[in-house]
């Protein structure tokens, strides 16, 4: 997150510039140095112009935004650096604020759904709810935007992490890790559309009834990671994992 001294930002710092130009002057003639400086100034002006012209497009359109971010990393500039780190660059785009705002919205959704999903939310559900929060004026955001934003949340120590289980991406927002058995239950639940009973774990994983029962009951009562349905026609009691369920809305 605190990437240092690549691209334009480095050349800006006076001491470093002096040193680097001193090195260069050993190899290049004075005219060549002046030519290089003129080029850099021209490039910087063009970049600033580009940034302010396309700021709105960058904020609104994910495809444009990704192309822009790829261009930035290829020339060694980090547009995600916050106002204090990126200096004029981040201010030109205001992307630092945009990223921060998205991060706050992600946390908002995760915290407000934690009671019903135990701190595990499916990525597409998260994107949908954050989009709802942003409304039409917020511009479109997609999974990549959310994933990049979650990366920037990690240094905050809040335990936000993207985990992949059974081919689906889930966002975990509680510090407690899933134990191995719970991870298995989650992946079975994904295959079965959310509903799991002990029999599913016994049949497909060869678990004993005791092991299956303990895993499911812990998820239900201790961790609040699943729900119980006591009117299930087939098995009487069935466990439902919210992050693996299909929600129609």
């Amino acid at each position: 997150m605190h990437r240092r001294g690549v691209g334009l930002a480095a050349f800006d710092r006076h001491e470093q510039s002096k040193r680097q130009f001193a090195e260069l002057s050993n190899a290049l003639s004075k005219t060549q140095i002046e030519h290089l400086q003129a080029q850099l100034t021209q490039f910087r002006t063009a970049l600033a112009h580009f940034a302010s012209t396309h700021r709105d497009s960058i904020r609104r359109d994910p495809t444009f935004r990704h192309a822009f971010q790829q261009m930035c990393s290829s020339i060694g500039v980090d547009p995600l650096a916050g106002p204090r780190k990126g200096g004029w660059w981040a201010e030109m785009l205001g992307l630092g604020d945009w990223q921060y705002e998205l991060g706050v919205q992600i946390v908002d959704v995760c915290v407000s759904t934690r009671d019903r999903n135990g701190g595990m939310i499916e990525m597409s559900e998260l994107v949908r709810l954050v989009s709802k929060l942003r409304g039409v004026s917020g511009g479109v955001i997609d999974e990549d935007d959310v994933m990049r934003s979650i990366k920037t949340l990690q240094p905050l120590g809040a335990g936000y992490q993207v985990v992949e289980i059974g081919g689906r991406k889930l966002v975990r927002s509680v510090v407690k890790e899933l134990d191995d058995d719970q991870t298995v239950v989650l992946s079975i639940a994904n295959e079965l559309g959310g509903r799991v009973v002990e029999g599913d774990l016994i049949r497909s994983k060869g678990w004993t009834r005791g092991r299956a029962s303990a895993a499911l009951e812990n998820m239900l009562i201790r961790d609040g990671l699943c729900w119980i349905d006591e009117q299930d026609e087939r098995d009487g009691r069935a466990y439902w994992i919210p992050s693996a369920m299909q929600w129609n809305e």
């Binding site: 934690r114 009671d115 009562i221 439902w240």
Partner: protein, 182 residues
């Protein structure tokens, strides 16, 4: 029609949950749903009996035919107790726990509506019976309001001298006054 929340299609929603955090989340959602539906259909009472029978006003909410689930009587009784604790309902009749009068609008808000209606229909300072209020010739926001709720609203108004209960020939009557400026 009334739009049910998507959680109403989840089978576990109809089971009282053992996990405290999930249980609170579910009951909050049930309470919100019940009050919204009551407001939409102008239903004033909810009874455990409504979970014990079919073909009543609450079928749409207490049951989901499509997934073959329903709120069972003990769970409904539990939800009623939570609503009373939150002051969005009162046990009616008193001293029992199987039926509540719903406050999808608070007595204070009913009081305001009542006084506005009396004023706008030019009935200030005239004596009216309760029946004149609950069954007016022209439909009003007060039409069909249960008497216990009407009494509470009038009590709120009488505290600020905007209403006075009066004994009339065959029951109770009330007179409304213009608010005295402060």
């Amino acid at each position: 029609g009334f739009l049910l929340p998507s959680i109403h299609s989840a089978p576990p929603f109809f089971t009282q949950q053992p996990s405290p955090s999930t249980s609170t989340s579910f009951s909050d959602q049930w309470i919100k749903l019940i009050l919204a539906y009551a407001r939409h259909r102008r239903l004033f009472y909810l009874r455990v009996e409504d979970a014990e029978t079919s073909g009543n006003d609450w079928d749409e909410v207490l049951k989901n035919e499509r997934i073959n689930r329903k709120v069972l009587p003990p769970y409904l009784e539990h939800i009623l107790s939570l609503m009373v604790a939150k002051n969005v309902a009162v046990y009616d009749p008193a001293k029992q726990t199987r039926a509540v009068l719903l406050y999808w609008r608070l007595p204070e808000e009913w009081a305001e509506t009542l006084h506005e209606w009396a004023t706008s229909t030019g009935q200030l300072n005239t004596i009216m019976t309760f029946y004149d209020i609950t069954d007016p010739p022209v439909e009003s926001p007060l039409s069909g309001i249960p008497l216990p709720l009407l009494r509470r609203a009038i009590n709120v108004l009488s505290k600020t001298n905007q209403a006075q209960i009066i004994a009339v020939a065959d029951g109770e009557g009330v007179r409304f006054f213009a608010p005295t400026g402060k």
